[in-house]
């Protein structure tokens, strides 16, 4: 959790000085969800998420260096610099992205579940999305099929109560979003997303249900993003009041865990300080690495559009880029 937090604090700085471009959606405040979940997964399980993907990618095991290099648009990035913040991928970790269209990846998760069942495997696919995605048709279509066909998928709604700048009360008739599960004859559970133990426990049950019974679950984790929707908006002041944000930030998942661990004698202040220093140092290391890493070579512009033999996907002369034959 600390690693994700310190990493993203540096990403925000890098964005502010123009080293990171495009859209950049930070996960700060939601780290208990990624951390509580990823510890439950086997290496051969599958993870897929939307564009707020840095924390989940790091928790799944991507290195800070390859994620930061991707944010910086460098060849050493996890997607070769072609994906950027919203499109982190790692085949070795079965991390299936990083998707930029709200709800668009939810049917893809159902498809991964379909493939697991097709092959007779006992893996699980876990799919994360925001609460605003429950209003898009893809959510409905995907959950219906996952339940109809008994697929091993865990659908996790990260409910931070804002779809970009629209509060849930302004967008969603049934604000108790986990009630949607009933439409698909699916089990639904709601979890305190700031409590890493609660996340770990309840998503653990859902993962076992998927693995052993091939039944999907809809899990709502109630959480808060401490930042704006992306780097383009302030954390509060327009669609969300400062008072509301301040109150939510009282339940910082890192502070909650630290307090619990201190009180139970699992951690000392010194140990915490050491961990935090290490997290800061590794975030700095990832910055230094990304900053020094080369940009993608110009011939990379045309690679991997299609997957062919090397001859048929040969790089085109850079000066011809964008110019038809």
């Amino acid at each position: 959790m600390l690693m994700q937090r310190r990493f993203e604090e540096r990403a925000a700085e890098a964005y502010a000085i123009g080293k990171i471009g495009g859209f950049c959606h930070l996960y700060i405040g939601q780290e208990a969800v990624s951390t509580g979940t990823m510890a439950l997964l086997r290496p051969d399980d599958y993870v897929i998420t939307a564009y707020r993907d840095h924390g989940l990618a790091l928790a799944r095991g991507m290195t800070e260096r390859e994620v930061m290099a991707e944010l910086f648009g460098r060849a050493a990035g996890c997607s070769g610099g072609k994906g950027g913040s919203m499109h982190l991928f790692d085949r070795k970790l079965n991390f299936l992205g990083g998707h930029g269209i709200v709800g668009g990846h939810i049917p893809i998760a159902t498809g991964v579940g379909f493939a697991i069942k097709y092959r007779g495997g006992d893996q699980v696919c876990i799919c994360f999305f925001g609460e605003a995605a429950v209003n898009i048709g893809a959510f409905h279509e995907a959950l219906n099929m996952a339940s109809l066909w008994n697929l091993p998928v865990v659908f996790v709604i990260e409910n931070n109560r804002y779809g970009m700048g629209t509060a849930i009360g302004r967008s969603t008739a049934q604000q108790d979003v986990v009630q949607r599960a009933a439409s698909y004859a699916m089990t639904g559970v709601s979890v305190d997303g700031q409590d890493v133990y609660a996340v770990h426990n309840d998503i653990g049950v859902a993962i076992e249900r998927a693995r052993k019974e091939h039944r999907p679950t809809l899990v709502e984790v109630r959480t808060t993003r401490f930042m704006g929707h992306s780097m383009s908006d302030a954390a509060s002041g327009t669609y969300r009041s400062k008072e509301e944000l301040d109150e939510s930030m009282q339940r910082d998942p890192i502070v909650l865990l630290k307090t619990k661990m201190l009180s139970e004698g699992m951690l000392t202040e010194d140990e915490y300080k050491k961990m935090d220093d290490e997290a800061k140092a590794s975030a700095q290391d990832s910055w230094d690495f990304a900053d020094a890493a080369p940009e993608p070579a110009p011939e990379e512009l045309f690679t991997h559009v299609l997957n062919e033999s090397p001859e048929s996907n040969a790089p085109v002369e850079p000066e011809l880029a964008g110019v038809a034959r």
Partner: protein, 328 residues
């Protein structure tokens, strides 16, 4: 060689590829118990069972996405759209997911999958069921687009599409399903994607076309031959990637070209063909290239209006005469 319908040729392609590769499955509305809305999948459920021939709810976006997910982890889905008109609902999965996954992931996640179904107008199905979507998909890098006009090409291209490691759009002709032709039953034979075929040879003009319009062009060529005008009929077969060498070779010989397509004029596939010809064959041309296409209107229901809207043999003959400066 056996004479069979375009429908049976597609069925044979599916059957052979399902047999050849366990990772191939067919998914869509009414593909299994109903045997396919157009009977392309007839008998496949009995032969391969419900695991591999999968009926879906009416949920185009959803099952297109299921195909994308299955392809991401190594299966080879064949996603059937009952018609490409309904596939508009699935465009986000086809364009934003399937076409871009390989590129966004720097090649980590290839997309070995097929989206197929009938495309274009049939008879009096009116505006929402009579559209040719060729140019929409041909516009997108990361996709391949094929449009077979004969049973042999239907079989060979569908087989090639299923074996391809990229998302391939297979635009079948609804009005072609009952047409017959010679088909090689050798299960190892494919038609390579990206290769045009000269369906008829002449020397006075090139008709560039594909899909259902191949038959229209061949009929026009017959008529023109009776008047002493022999034309090349170049069947592109694949729209993306386009066989531009074949176009250049033919135009260099005939010095004139007509492009016939089923879709609308604006930003159509024909516009791309014309663009290529003007750039690469400028010195070969004896006349401006002329296009034949659907009238720039949603398809009307009334029989007479529908006929007026569609590209046909008479319009193609007239276009060839125009580029040859032959008065009627």
């Amino acid at each position: 060689m056996t004479i069979m319908t375009y429908r049976d040729a597609l069925n044979q392609a599916l059957r052979e590829e399902l047999k050849r590769d366990e990772s191939v499955f067919l998914m869509g509305e009414e593909v299994a118990e109903y045997n396919g809305a157009y009977k392309v999948s007839r008998g496949l459920l009995d032969e391969f069972g419900p695991k591999r021939i999968v009926d879906t709810p009416i949920t185009e976006l959803g099952f297109a996405g299921v195909g994308v997910g299955a392809a991401m982890v190594g299966l080879r889905p064949v996603i059937e759209f009952m018609t490409w008109n309904f596939a508009l609902l699935a465009t986000d999965q086809v364009v934003n997911a399937a076409a871009k996954m390989s590129y966004m992931s720097n090649g980590q996640f290839p997309m070995p999958m097929v989206f197929r179904g009938p495309n274009g107008a049939a008879l009096q199905l009116a505006a929402q069921h009579s559209q040719a979507w060729d140019s929409w998909y041909a516009h997108i890098p990361g996709l391949k687009v094929v449009s077979p006009g004969t049973p042999a090409d239907a079989k060979g291209l569908l087989k090639a599409a299923i074996r391809d490691n990229n998302p391939v759009i297979v635009l079948e002709g609804e009005m072609l399903y009952n047409t017959k032709g010679e088909v090689d039953e050798n299960p190892d034979l494919i038609v390579p994607i990206g290769k045009a075929e000269l369906k008829r040879e002449g020397d006075k003009c090139t008709i560039v076309t594909y899909g259902k319009m191949v038959l229209v062009a061949l009929k026009a060529a017959d008529q023109l031959a009776k008047e002493g005008v022999n034309v090349d009929v170049l069947d592109l077969r694949t729209i993306r990637p386009m066989d531009i060498d074949a176009i250049a070779n033919s135009v260099a010989k005939t010095n004139r070209a007509v492009v016939v397509e089923e879709g609308w004029e604006m930003c159509g596939v024909g516009a791309q063909v014309v663009d290529f010809i003007q750039r690469e064959c400028f010195d070969d041309l004896d006349a401006p290239v002329v296009r034949v296409h659907q009238a720039d209107v949603p398809m009307p229901y009334a029989k007479n209006l529908e006929k007026l809207a569609k590209p046909d043999t008479a319009k193609t003959v007239a276009a060839v005469k125009r580029v040859m400066y032959l008065g009627d």
